[in-house]
């Protein structure tokens, strides 16, 4: 009865958590890069240039319309064939998640900056601040209170979405789980464990986002 029932989780915990490292590496790297690129994208989206506006709009909508699963799949198959370079599933995943994260993060940044009242900006200008100063001392400190909760929520979405990388051959926590199942046939406990594991990663972040949002609402 070594490898049956709930014991299967404890006996294979090392292998399972080894896969988790890959999952987190993809999520954290993508999120980290997206935070910066997203800021840039958000500022671009507020541009008054119509062509920039249109292009950034199309970019965002592309991720809102085409499922991430399709993006992952396309990159994994399309890039190696077209460009003739072999990329690993991890790299394809990080590229896609970063592109997606940039779009979503950009929208959060834009929403936060646009929500600032005109009065704040006008009083800033009225005391002679330059545009850069206005951004650094007035807009950014106020907007960050809306950006951070949104970014944390995006983080939970990204962790949940990393579950998909197993489908393009990345050895993540789910792939490890599948290996254990093949050996032990304990699908119920392993998938139950994975369910709980993702919950334990995402739930604290969700709570944190909600608390910060409430705290900074006023």
């Amino acid at each position: 009865m070594q490898n049956s029932g709930i014991n299967v989780i404890f006996n294979n915990i090392g292998i399972l958590l080894d896969g988790l490292g890959n999952t987190l590496l993809i999520a954290v790297t993508s999120l980290f890069i997206s935070f910066f690129t997203g800021f840039g994208f958000g500022l671009l989206r507020m541009s008054k240039n119509r062509i920039v506006k249109l292009l950034t709009y199309i970019y965002l909508e592309a991720f809102r319309i085409i499922p991430i699963m399709v993006w992952l799949f396309s990159f994994f198959f399309f890039i190696p064939r077209t460009l003739g370079i072999d990329i690993s599933g991890e790299v394809a995943a990080i590229v896609v998640f970063t592109m997606w994260g940039t779009a979503e993060m950009g929208d959060i940044v834009r929403g936060a900056l646009e929500s600032l009242s005109k009065g704040q900006i006008e009083s800033g200008l009225s005391i002679g601040l330059s545009k850069l100063q206005l951004f650094l001392y007035i807009q950014f400190p106020q907007a960050i209170k809306r950006i951070v909760p949104g970014a944390i929520s995006l983080g939970t979405r990204m962790i949940k979405t990393t579950s998909l990388v197993v489908l393009i051959g990345v050895i993540d926590v789910i792939a490890r789980g599948k290996q254990v199942i093949e050996r032990t046939k304990e699908a119920f406990w392993i998938y139950g464990f994975l369910f709980l594991l993702f919950f334990l990663m995402c739930y604290p972040l969700s709570i944190m986002a909600r608390k910060l949002e409430r705290k900074w609402e006023s």
Partner: protein, 219 residues
């Protein structure tokens, strides 16, 4: 680009697109019903059920659909519950989407101002009339943008169901690439299929939102 391939495989994509739509439809319906039930349990604060619903919402929102359907499809047979792929897909979408819908509806109900309810009381409306004539019409229009975002979210999530062998768009693309190695052509058809399904839907939903908007305060 092999154009004849596109023409030849088009019918298979139409078929797969219909599977995506069919699974999406039933999944969204399941999500709507789950969401409505949960929302009313929360709104009327029905004692024990309220706690169960709260736990469900957190579990559903903080776990990926892929694990949810893997658990249903591979995990449950081990304890004697065998469900078809389609059943797992619909239950999975319903489980995932139910919490999103519940939150959307609850947001709508809570946004109906206390003063609107007092106005209703002051002209003698009873509980049912209040729900029917004052609260629901306003709540529906307030929650509509979130509900329609959920529609699109869930329809996109159907792509994950390729992992449990539902012959939807992505699954069919995968098998075709495996068969003919026409990667670019297959991916093009796949992307265009999603555009054809989701773009018109989001336009229609946007139109409905605008029609309902007169319930909003101010402009």
């Amino acid at each position: 680009m092999d154009w004849s391939y596109l023409g030849r495989e088009l019918p298979r994509y139409i078929e797969a697109g219909l599977v995506t739509l069919k699974i999406g439809f039933w999944g969204i319906l399941a999500a709507l019903i789950t969401g409505l039930v949960c929302c009313f349990v929360l709104y009327y604060k029905i004692f024990i059920l309220q706690k169960i619903v709260k736990v469900y919402v957190e579990l559903s929102r903080n776990t990926p659909l892929l694990i949810q359907v893997f658990f249903l499809y591979f995990g449950l047979p081990q304890v004697g519950i065998k469900l078809s792929g389609t059943a797992c897909a619909i239950i999975g979408l319903g489980f995932l989407g139910g919490s999103y819908m519940a939150e959307a509806f609850r947001g709508g109900l809570e946004a109906v101002g206390n003063s609107q309810i007092e106005s209703g009381l002051s002209i003698g409306l009873d509980k049912r009339q209040m729900m029917q004539y004052v609260i629901l019409p306003q709540a529906i229009s307030i929650s509509m943008p979130q509900v329609s975002a959920n529609f699109i979210f869930l329809l996109k999530e159907t792509s994950i169901l390729s992992a449990i062998a539902i012959p939807e768009l992505l699954n069919v693309t995968q098998s075709l690439i495996g068969l003919y190695y026409k990667t670019n052509e297959s991916l093009l058809l796949l992307t265009v299929s999603y555009l054809i399904i989701i773009l018109p839907l989001s336009i229609v939903l946007g139109y409905i939102e605008r029609r309902l908007r007169h319930a909003e305060f101010g402009n």
